[in-house]
């Protein structure tokens, strides 16, 4: 049994729980580990769980980069299906984009920036 498996299970249990529930959950975890003879894994489980929680938090962040920094509701509506069910939107100003926007989740990106398009056009002309 790897620490990451316990960590993933623990992170799932902790999701949506209050701080006062934390002690009870940890006591229960220790009991499970004792019954299975895996007490020595506890430090590694806690480390892995911390990383898992950070990862889950990052997964819920959606970054929208535009030239001015203003978030655009229309873009979010258009690309709603690629966004997680619950997410935190970060609107970032990125003047280097030239125009358009870049919408990023943890593992996907919609690039509608002028910078990317112009760079592709430049390379196309250069190759020809």
């Amino acid at each position: 049994m790897r620490p990451t498996y316990y960590a993933q299970a623990l992170a799932g249990v902790l999701a949506g729980k209050e701080e006062r529930d934390l002690k009870g959950i940890l006591v229960r975890l220790k009991e499970v580990l004792r019954l299975r003879g895996h007490q020595k894994l506890l430090p590694a489980i806690m480390r892995a769980c911390t990383l898992e929680l950070i990862k889950r938090e990052r997964a819920s962040i959606v970054t929208m980069r535009t030239v001015s920094g203003a978030s655009q509701k229309e873009i979010l509506e258009q690309y709603g299906e690629m966004l997680p069910k619950e997410y935190t939107l970060r609107a970032v100003a990125d003047p280097t984009l030239a125009s358009g926007f870049v919408l990023e989740t943890q593992h996907r990106r919609i690039d509608a920036s002028g910078k990317r398009a112009l760079r592709e056009l430049y390379q196309k002309i250069l190759v020809q």
């Binding site: 593992h107 996907r108 690039d111 760079r119 056009l121 196309k124 002309i125 020809q128």
Partner: protein, 515 residues
């Protein structure tokens, strides 16, 4: 100029930027040419990825960056993937975005590569400008199956008498060249490339020389030699020098095989030389250890055999239905102190269709090429020899075999019977006849004439130290006075009775004139 302006106008008019959706990952650590990336959960093994260096940079800086940085995924793990960086590792930073390209690593291949020096990714390195756009071909491909292959029956003339007579190589064969450092392994391959100049263009093989982990000065010298002697026009040099990353050294032989397959599938013959696979194995070991793959014997990864077997299996002679082309492979392995029972040499020996052993002792005695004919073999054998060569080669092999048996008794020469002494002297003369200078390959007809003269005793009265000189003079005499005989042998590939008579008379007249 106007055409360029018109093209630019056309592109601008058609310019309609559309948003694109990409699967991206994030670099979480990088070092020693390996990047660990979080994400890319749907990526496949050996898939190409592109590092996004333009993020956060202005449009001007993004446009100024000419070379795109690619990587190749080699480890697919639970939470992360590991990729080797195909370029400067210092350009990759932690937090950089990486996108999947959705295809395995491939290189552009075209006829425009002939005469050029390229990198393992197909990029020109010789400063002669861009190579004409070609087809993209994957570096890794499954080799042709049994049904698509035909028997190897066409000789690859190396121009080296000792090899063409006793260890003949066929088109589509894999023949290993193995020996210690400085024994003439690369020289044999260069002579082979140079000799193809004497083959008519229609049947001349395209030569691809893959330099793996070599000194750049050595590769430069080689290119210069080929160019000076007019052999570069039908050759391609693929180089991943010792200064390049282990990833590029690992990929270089596959690039050579890919280029060779391109010509093979067009119905042509191609020759690919891997110089050398020992360095290739070391580069792959380095990569595997950096990727944290478990080390095996001598710290090589467990799939080191598969690395070379899948590379060398791509050499083939295709059936007529597949175009009839061929890809011949001449891999080189460097041994340490003549130890052919080491790990990598034994692996490659078991994969190839024969081996040419180069002996340090013979080299030091002045026998060049320093072939140890006794333990060299070609598993294709006389199926890859012309009829003319078969007629003379059979006898020279027998004579040399008898000589090798009696060689140990040479120190007792005064106590030996006349017949044994005669055999030893004949063997010494034939061995001297088989020596050849560097970069002086001999076409088929000249080889046949020379060996014919040797096995028929014409050199028996020539002093041992004068054999080479006399042979040169004989060949010059034949070229000047009996060119038709040589032409007949070259055209027919046979030593018919009448041709043999003419040749014998010509040689007799030379030696009579000399006496």
């Amino acid at each position: 100029m106007q055409t360029i302006v018109e093209k630019i106008k056309k592109e601008l008019e058609a310019f309609q930027p559309q948003p694109i959706e990409e699967e991206v990952g994030t670099v979480i650590s990088v070092g020693d040419g390996v990047a660990t990336i979080e994400g890319l959960g749907k990526a496949g093994m050996m898939e190409m990825i592109q590092f996004d260096e333009s993020s956060g940079k202005s449009l001007e800086s993004a446009l100024a960056q000419k070379e795109t940085l690619f990587g190749m995924l080699l480890n697919l793990e639970e939470e992360t993937v590991k990729a080797v960086i195909l370029g400067e590792g210092s350009r990759v930073t932690e937090g950089m975005k990486v996108k999947r390209l959705g295809r395995v690593l491939s290189i552009p291949v075209s006829d425009g590569m002939l005469g050029r020096v390229v990198s393992a990714l197909g990029e020109p390195l010789d400063g002669k400008g861009d190579i004409a756009e070609g087809v993209e071909r994957p570096l890794e491909r499954i080799a042709y199956g049994v049904i698509d292959r035909a028997p190897v029956n066409t000789p690859l003339q190396t121009g080296i008498k000792a090899i063409d007579a006793t260890i003949p190589i066929g088109r589509g064969q894999r023949e290993l060249i193995i020996g210690d450092r400085g024994t003439g392994k690369t020289t044999i391959t260069i002579d082979t490339i140079l000799n193809q100049k004497s083959i008519p263009e229609a049947t001349r093989p395209i030569c691809i020389y893959v330099a793996i982990g070599q000194k750049e000065s050595k590769t430069a010298r080689l290119v210069h030699e080929l160019a000076t002697r007019g052999a570069l026009s039908y050759s391609i040099i693929v180089t991943a020098s010792a200064a390049e990353s282990a990833a590029l050294q690992f990929l270089a032989p596959f690039a050579g095989a890919t280029i060779g397959e391109y010509f093979m599938e067009k119905g042509k013959d191609a020759l690919v030389i891997y110089d050398d696979l020992s360095k290739h194995a070391v580069a792959y070991r380095q990569l595997s250890l950096l990727l944290r793959r478990p080390p095996g014997r001598e710290a090589y990864p467990g799939d080191i055999f598969y690395l070379h077997s899948r590379l060398l299996e791509r050499a083939a002679k295709l059936s007529p239905e597949r175009g009839g082309g061929s890809l011949t492979a001449l891999p080189i392995i460097e041994t340490q102190e003549g130890d052919v029972s080491a790990y990598i040499p034994t692996n490659v020996i078991s994969i190839t269709d024969g081996q040419i052993f180069l002996d340090t002792d013979l080299f030091n005695k002045g026998m060049k090429p320093a072939l140890n004919i006794g333990i060299s073999v070609s598993r294709v054998g006389s199926a890859a020899q012309t009829k003319a060569m078969k007629k003379v080669a059979g006898r020279i092999k027998l004579e040399l075999a008898q000589f090798r048996e009696l060689e140990a008794f040479m120190q007792f020469s005064s106590d030996l019977d006349a017949q044994t002494r005669e055999r030893i002297e004949k063997g010494e003369r034939l061995s001297a006849l088989l020596t050849q200078n560097k970069y002086e390959p001999l076409p088929l007809a000249q080889q046949v004439a020379s060996i014919y003269a040797g096995v028929n005793g014409f050199f028996d009265k020539t002093p041992l130290l004068k054999i080479s000189e006399t042979e040169k003079r004989l060949l010059t005499y034949l070229e000047n006075n009996h060119a038709k005989v040589l032409q007949k042998i070259a055209e027919t590939g046979d030593l018919a009775a009448d041709t043999e008579t003419e040749l014998k008379q010509a040689i007799e007249s030379f030696f009579k004139a000399m006496a």
